[in-house]
Amino acid sequence: MTEKTTYRLPIGPIHPALKEPVQFEFEIDGERIVDVDVSLGHVHRSIEWAGTRRNPIQNLYLAERICGICSYCHPVAFSLAVENALDIQVPDRGEYLRVIQGELERMCSHMLWAGVAAHEVGFDTVLYLTWQMREKLLDLTEYLTGNRVTKAITMIGGVRRDITKDMVPKIQETLDYFKENFEKIRHTYLDDKTFKMRCQGVGVLTYDDAIKLCAVGPTTRASGVKKDVRVDQPYFAYSDLDIDYITPDILTGEIHGDVYDRIIQRLLEVKQAIDLMEQCLDKMPSGDIVAEPKPAKLLAMLKKAEGEGIGRHEAPRGEVIHYVKLVSGEENAYTWKVRAPTYNNILPWIPMLKGEQIADIPIVAASTDPCMSCTNRVAVVDRDNKYILNKEELHQMSVEKTRRLLK
């Protein structure tokens, strides 16, 4: 008599169902998943180590390139940490401008996630619809900051660009477009039978698990935990605005903690972001936008200063925390620690995936909105001569191929 054992299925770093490289190893029994093992480290880039070789103004742009979607929250958390360490007071107009940019990025990220979630379920038409709506937001970002993705709008002590009176009509026009079309999106995601069949009851994360595993962001709020850095601890101008915790029972009245609840959670957050941006535009005070406008003076101040500080921000995926330690006599930071939100949201994958079917893996993994680029940051460049030669060979080969194509 042979024994019945489980089968090991690796879903490796590169796979069509995953948007970013992460390695899963599942123990499956038939179609059901029994155990999960996750390993990371495929996008390691040595950013924390490189940050200690640069002064804080250069670090802002390095932090921006940790991730494309979270390209505003990392520089802003870094500058909050430096301001905390040195007790720099940001002017009020700068705080309100930071809120507007942060909420705009939240809307862009949630619209991208909505498209990706629809694609994982198999509903490609909705992917095109949501990404078409997202183009309006990217146009607005380009108008306000100069580029669609790498915004470069943060400076230690404030922001770099102002929103003048003639820019406000364009912002209002984009927000009105979203308010009109929100009902279309809500109807597609929440009333459609396809989504209900695929997403209800799947990938459940209970309230106790969410607290014990220290989950953050929409993942934990969809399970009923009221954790949101914007409302918990006052920073920027959030303490002046009318803001409250968002959990799925605002719309439906009950909390299940499954994938369907996470869709509701993110759509409600988009609505909240529109409301917060309008409140900011109404209440904006006048004044300076940055505490120290001359970067040369700022660098001199950083060289003399000493201290350590933490900066926390509510990114679209959860809580981002940066820790910076500065010593006097050196411009560069002594230590810089980055913790992206997906870091804390990896352990919840294990209780969510146990007991599910294989076909549900893409949508459950995508429902926590993982951003692997944010998670992996320290790496090594090369080890021995052989590796360097291969990279040069690759470069040579790609140049030659381009020349062949041009002929």
């Binding site: 014990k212 409302v231 002046d240 933490i310």
Partner: protein, 178 residues
Amino acid sequence: MAEKKQLDAKGLVKYFKDEFKTKIKKTTVKKRVVGLEKKESYFVWITIDKSIFKDVIKHLVEYQFPHLAVVSGNDLGKTIELIYHFSLDHGQKFKEISLNIKVEIPKSNPKIETICDYIPGALITEREKQEMLGVIVEGIPDSRRLFLPEDFPKGVYPWRKDGKGMEKVIKNLHEVKK
């Protein structure tokens, strides 16, 4: 603790000092004021001795289950300093307190106890400290490498600044190519 109470920043410092007296080396409470309505947020920094580390965590978990954000590390020459960043009192508007606990461990014996039995979510950040700083976490359920590949040389700890760091391993590509 009989009933669930909620302390403010200074009360929290007193709660730890009453229990552990002299083993707490230094405490700082920082305040920041933001916005037009001038709301305050508090940051508490406590430096403790290595011998009472596990008791401090137990004391904290009994007061309220904290949210562990991350563990960061500093290389200070002869010692390694680990900082545990917690936050307490989520769920009420504008009342959260950030609590940061610092522990120093000597490089000759870089061992520290795990807190995974009290806070299961600390597994990933403890694994990262093991590979990046060379800290040995006793009792950790899973001690494999997290971010670095398996064939990364042993004994090289990227965050250290004393010669065991990254000096020999990296080469600057732009210098090699010229």
